[in-house]
Amino acid sequence: MASIKADPSAHRRVQGLVHEDPARGIFRVARRTFVEPDILVREQALIFDRCWLYLGHESEIAQPGDFLTRDVGGRTLLFVRAKDGVIRAFFNTCPHRGAMVCREKQGNAGMFRCFYHSWAFNLEGKLVNRPGDECYTTEAREAGHHDLVPVPQVDHYRGLYFVNFQRRSEPLVAYLAQAAEFIDLIMDQSEVGMEIVGGTQEYSIEANWKLLCENSFDGYHAVSTHATYLDYLQSRAGGLVKRNLSVGQAHDLGNGHAVIEYGAPWGRPIALAVPAWGVEGEAEVNAVKARLETRFDPARAERIACLNRNMVIFPNLVLNDIMAITVRTFFPAGPARNLVNAWTLAPKDESATMRERRLFNYLEFLGPGGFATPDDCEALALCQRGYANLSEAGWNDLSKGMLSPEPKIDDEVQMRVFWREWQRRIAEEG
């Protein structure tokens, strides 16, 4: 990877990529940001190498010895729960010659063995066995160069595990700022905890990763891009609740994180039933809602049960608590392509029927085969193709509702929050 320090003019070239004119209510982003390899190099160094990045959920490695491998922030990591229950993250590379020590997506192991020269590591990352160990000097053995390298920082909030590749940074909870309160609104949905349901959607979009950040909480595109999804909701007898889309608010959560919170006509498997779920479904949902009301004040119980939230935690974690809960993260594979991983999160203690409804709900909107996500992917790919014209048509507009006293969810305040933070970080001295 090229160094961002090599070219002093590079720093000058990334000033003013986000142009804001509050007096005139104008907010624009240079399309170069989605195209230029130099900008991706700076994003790697100043964003992905510095921010807290989502790795996984504790439920994915619930038992001692459970592990999974995952690519995060340009690294390839090993996420593992040791016999003592402690969760750690390592760089998935043998200290000897560098081969990945684990090639499985997930599993349960007592140790990890690199097949190249058969070095073996325990779940704490320590070298425990290798052929010809007696041929190494004590110095070579004890210098600590022969263990798996741990990720410098691993921390968690309400079951969500994050990594940071810097040795020192602000703590995770400070980094999350007010986003933590909105994570609480998801994690409080169960008293025994939430879990990632089996099955990962690993797909890709032929567009810059930041376009997916914008799209994930873009309230303005719903009616136009997703007309066929809304048609579908109308078609299902008893598939709707009487709530209008787009009544809601956008919130700046600090540190580049933002959320929109709103009512919508779809059912929510936590505690907003649609008639199609029948008497039994309604009774089940009412019991959950009543329990929420004993645990929280009525307003908070109502928010948890009935309101929808689309949140982007800077730079690339999406937590959308909508017709189901999606946890989605994505990383650039070049300026014009991003790799997406999406999961669904659910209360551990929900009934089998509600779990079934939740998965059914998820798939009608979300994911690479849903009624909506493929059209988002198409829109983002078309944006990226349109940037072929950036020499003459060089700016994106994000001015909607710029001077509104109360920004609505179909305004663009949440994207502006993202972009201000992006500009601040990208213009830092390397």
């Binding site: 099955g199 999961w343 690479p368 085969g369």
Partner: protein, 166 residues
């Protein structure tokens, strides 16, 4: 032996049916394709690499349609507002390794391997995998009661998404 408890369907008959199915999809004659399904039929696409016994009620799939949602999926794909498939992509489906897996004319299982090419705006995706069919023969007509399409890849990074019927 009770005649109704036997499987009279031949592989040749099944192949004719599956080749017709592929031809209808290639030609975007989706309403006719839907006519090959029983009124309670389901259409499922588990996440890439899923085992044959994957269950959509406990794991996250890409597609798990009941007949109503499948009908709506077809209505959607026929609209210009199904943006991912407007204009329609060009597709060609190759179907092979067709096998009858047993059962009776009232309920039998079959499998095939597939290779599907999709081309749109200068880019081509390749999908490969196998289908599992649950079918029946009613009034001399074959009908699909359940079609599960397995994508036998690690993931769908190369394919982006599943916006066509596989």
């Amino acid at each position: 032996m009770n005649a109704t408890a036997t499987l009279t369907v031949t592989r040749a008959e099944l192949e004719d049916f599956l080749f017709l199915e592929a031809a209808l999809l290639d030609a975007w004659r989706l309403d006719e394709w839907l006519g090959l399904f029983d009124r309670d039929a389901r259409y499922l696409v588990p996440a890439a690499g899923a085992p044959d016994d994957a269950d959509p009620t406990t794991t996250l799939f890409y597609i798990a349609d009941d007949h109503h949602r499948l009908t709506e999926r077809i209505k959607r794909l026929n609209k210009p507002t199904a943006h991912a498939e407007f204009p329609h992509s060009r597709c060609r489906r190759l179907v092979s390794n067709v096998r009858l897996l047993g059962g009776t004319d009232q309920a039998f299982r079959a499998t095939s391997n597939y290779l599907t090419y999709r081309s749109k705006m200068g880019e081509t995706q390749t999908y490969f995998g196998h289908h599992l069919y649950e079918m029946c023969k009613v009034d001399d007509q074959l009908l699909i009661t359940k079609k599960t399409t397995f994508i036998d890849a690690d993931d769908i990074r190369d394919q982006n998404k599943v916006s066509i019927i596989l």
